[in-house]
């Protein structure tokens, strides 16, 4: 009985840790926005579920109709959710292992095709 209890508690604790680690790579700007209490996305659950649709709609409007707004722009996602490497002050690519975008995509086994063409770090610094 005790052994079962230990196993149960271990599972519980590990799942709690897994939950707290979920947003380890949220991104510097995104973390500071979250810490300031400002709401950027209308609902985290909606943006998590719907971001492919939002991006698809936005991409068609931008490319085909020239509507260039900030809302749901991939540039905006990258600039907010990119992490900086503390040692060399360079941005990590958002599609690199452990970074914001790839973190989730890897877990749910959905390929991340945006970044075979789109820039993975904010702005042009190294070019």
């Amino acid at each position: 009985m005790n052994r079962l209890l230990v196993i149960f508690l271990t599972l519980l604790v590990s799942s709690v840790f897994a939950h707290t680690n979920e947003h380890a790579s949220l991104g510097e700007q995104a973390s500071s926005i979250k810490a300031s209490g400002k709401v950027f996305h209308e609902s985290v659950s909606i943006i998590r579920k719907m971001h492919p649709e939002f991006l698809r709609h936005k991409r068609d409007k931008t490319l085909r109709q020239g509507v260039r707004t900030d809302e749901y722009s991939l540039k905006g996602c990258v600039s907010c959710h990119a992490n900086k490497d503390k040692t060399n002050n360079q941005y990590h690519s958002v599609d690199k292992k452990g970074q914001f975008c790839s973190d989730c995509h890897e877990q749910v086994s959905v390929s991340l095709d945006c970044f075979s063409c789109h820039r993975t770090t904010p702005k042009e610094d190294s070019l």
């Binding site: 085909r64 020239g66 707004t69 540039k75 789109h118 820039r119």
Partner: protein, 243 residues
């Protein structure tokens, strides 16, 4: 001094104020739309370019090519061999066999009104925007390269290698076709294409072909200009004078 306002005066002043307010308000809305680009582009405009080959020097063309490379981030492909390398804008020499006159052209996508690339594209990736700019939707491009074969100007190129560090405004990737976008990201902000700004003289004029007050429209009315391969009836947006 204490004049009473009669009916006529009242109507006069109020209508004047209303007209004033309406004018200012419409001005404000117009500028807001222009700066944020919330409204889709329409066919009331058609963007075009006039290249004067008499004024355009070879150095100017080289400048245009490098300005395009810098703006759009092509040209530093490491693994592509000569013919595989992308070229969004090229320096082309044409010689009149009878007179021997040599002209240098800057040749890029001609942004045809009837683009053959759009006709042949099996996935609708090749497309023409309402304002006449011809683009490739890389989300739909399957890399079949029919458009490259259909284009009479050899304006399009294919990306043969995996790329990184693309420009933020110009996604480019392996397996897709690309060509001059007339710097659409700049045009949408009310700016002019990078190659046009790189030329110091007025050898290259960019503007709205339909707008009677635009410089390009007025120049086209006064100077003789030509389309390259005008016999194909594509009605190109890029025109040349002096050839």
């Amino acid at each position: 001094m204490n004049k009473t306002l009669n009916r006529r005066d009242f109507i006069k002043t109020t209508s004047a104020t209303t007209i004033g307010v309406v004018t200012v308000a419409s001005g404000i809305t117009l500028t807001t739309f222009a700066s944020t680009n919330k409204v889709p582009v329409t066919n009331e405009k058609r963007w075009g370019m006039l290249i004067d080959t008499n004024k355009l020097t070879e150095a100017d063309i080289d400048g245009m090519v490098s300005a395009c490379q810098k703006e759009q981030g092509w040209g530093s492909e490491l693994h592509s061999t000569g013919s595989q390398k992308p070229g969004w804008i090229k320096k082309v020499k044409v010689k009149d066999k009878a007179t021997g006159k040599v002209s240098n052209l800057a040749l890029m996508c001609q942004h045809c009104e009837e683009p053959p690339c759009v006709d042949v594209c099996p996935t609708n990736a090749s497309m023409k925007r309402e304002d006449g700019i011809v683009l490739v939707d890389k989300h739909l491009c399957i890399g079949c390269r029919y458009c490259m074969m259909a284009c009479p100007y050899d304006a399009r190129s294919f990306v043969h290698e995996t790329l990184s560090n693309q420009k933020e405004h110009m996604p480019r990737g392996k397996g897709t076709v690309e060509s001059c976008t007339m710097c659409v990201h700049k045009v949408d902000k009310g700016e002019v294409p990078a190659c046009v700004t790189s030329v110091n003289s007025d050898a290259v004029i960019f503007g709205d072909l339909y707008d009677a007050s635009s410089k390009i429209n007025q120049t086209l009315k006064t100077v003789q200009s030509a389309q390259i391969r005008a016999d194909l009836n594509l009605n190109t947006g890029v025109r040349y004078s002096g050839i």
